[in-house]
Symmetry: C2
Subunit: 119 residues, 2 copies
């Protein structure tokens, strides 16, 4: 039963779009990622996904609109909803999602990470 310091965890890596697991509970995982640029369109059929912007700004694109998520804000992307995260500048994200959530849903891309390392 130790504390987890999120900001310290971000200092441990510098690659973009490569999630790291920092905690697991109730079949859910807490993930952090640094992102910059555009990701790929995907959805998660059975999982809602919470994005919390720790630093920077996230532009969450949906097929019919765009939502700007500023530092200190969160957004929940409901299951089945196609989305594409974009960040102009380096942005730090914290995500809550079920363990079953695949990085890019049913889309297989060279950018897909199959298993997130624990840090």
């Amino acid at each position: 039963m130790k504390t987890i310091n999120i900001k310290e965890k971000y200092e441990l890596f510098n690659d973009y779009w490569k999630p790291r697991v920092v905690a697991e509970l109730n079949n859910q995982q807490v993930i952090i990622a640094k992102v910059k640029g555009e990701f790929i369109w995907h959805d998660h059929k059975d999982e809602d996904e919470l994005f919390n912007v720790i630093k920077g700004k996230l532009r969450m694109e949906f097929r019919d609109k765009v939502v700007e998520v500023n530092e200190g804000e969160m957004i929940i992307v409901p299951r089945g909803v196609e989305h594409r995260p974009v960040a102009e500048e380096e942005t730090w994200l914290l995500l809550f999602e079920p363990l079953s959530t695949k990085h890019t849903g049913d889309v297989n891309s060279k950018r897909t990470v199959k298993k997130y390392p624990r840090i």
Copy 2:
């Protein structure tokens, strides 16, 4: 699909130990609370509970030790583990836990909140 600004949500209330639900996803809820002073000993038989300290400092007491959780840190209290949250000064918490989680587990107290309001 709107953004949620956690810090703005904290401005909406001032009572201690009265959780508010700010989001739900995957049968989990995101809760915020302001706390100050000592809470009561309890556990949650079937639910792990994540505490994230947004502001202030949390002193999480267990039967065999005490863990200080500073601003920006989180701690997960595993299911079945008795705990007592304590805060010397006003502290802002964000919790992530299953919808089934009862405020004070099987302990019924005048401080128990049966249903958390959504804000």
